[in-house]
Symmetry: C2
Subunit: 172 residues, 2 copies
């Protein structure tokens, strides 16, 4: 799949088929995160993959909109140094770049994804066994879509602000 | 270019050919940012494109490592609501996702890019005419590489931590 096609067609998928990811596919996804460029090439991330159904169900309790994790084929928890300090902006910026690489690499393989924001940091720390200096603020769900037609569905009209709304020349 | 190929081969380019971007190419890059999924689809971003050489040189003064902006064919300044508040983490995460979409879309078109971190927020606010509630923490340089061979060069060994270093199964 051409890069632009992936960027333009990818959509959020929250309902997944009940089958595991092919191991090569999960490895490709994690490698897409691993390859990502980062501030000073610091690569301040660890990707924790979770595939057991019970553990996925437990992870689904970490946030108000994290329910999709319960039905995912795999979750990838994105772990970084504490992003609440002075370098937090660049940690989160880098992490978003890695996430997008994973989302696009998955989409090319026919795998949908959704992102969950962590609200309960104590719970996620316990479930993943995180040291006190590590943080998990986002977890990605991956899986083959329950409805494969979403992979080729046209973009919904009005789903994004127009080019005129989101761009300017030279100044605000 | 296949999506995985773009993800795996893209590299930072800081030296650019002295020719402008084709207008369709710049539009494609901004559209790649515009299409990005974001938290609650809030799209908290405005992309300010800058192509004038004098203004690019001025922008190059916003950070210690922002010199590449002076020679870029175009800069895209990424503007968001203030990311220093409680929602800052998700603003920066979303913005990183948009940046990666732009970087990959550019790479497919033979366009290199580099990211600059803004240190002098007062200067960037003045140059871009930003309202007080808007922030620009990152600016991307884009341009056709001065050395086109970088577009097809193999990855440098040791450029990224290994899969074993950056990934775990189930827990830390």
């Amino acid at each position: 799949m051409d890069t632009w096609q992936a960027i333009n067609s990818v959509r959020v998928v929250r309902e997944f088929a009940d089958r595991p990811l092919e191991p090569d596919h999960l490895t490709r996804i994690v490698n897409a995160g691993r390859r990502t460029g980062s501030s000073k090439n610091e690569q301040r991330w660890v990707f924790i993959t979770v595939q057991g159904r019970d553990r996925l169900r437990e992870l689904a309790a970490v946030g108000r909109y994290a329910g999709h994790l319960a039905g995912a084929a795999a979750a990838v928890a994105l772990v970084t140094p504490d992003p609440n300090g002075p370098r937090g902006k660049s940690i989160m910026w880098d992490l978003g770049r890695a996430a997008q690489n994973m989302v696009l690499a998955a989409w090319e393989l026919g795998i949908g994804s959704a992102s969950a924001t962590v609200y309960d940091h104590e719970l996620v720390g316990k479930l993943l066994g995180l040291p006190g200096d590590q943080d998990c603020s986002f977890i990605l769900s991956f899986g083959y879509p329950a409805d494969p037609s979403v992979l080729t569905a046209p973009n919904r009209a009005g789903g994004r602000r127009s080019l005129a709304e989101v761009s300017r020349e030279d100044h605000w």
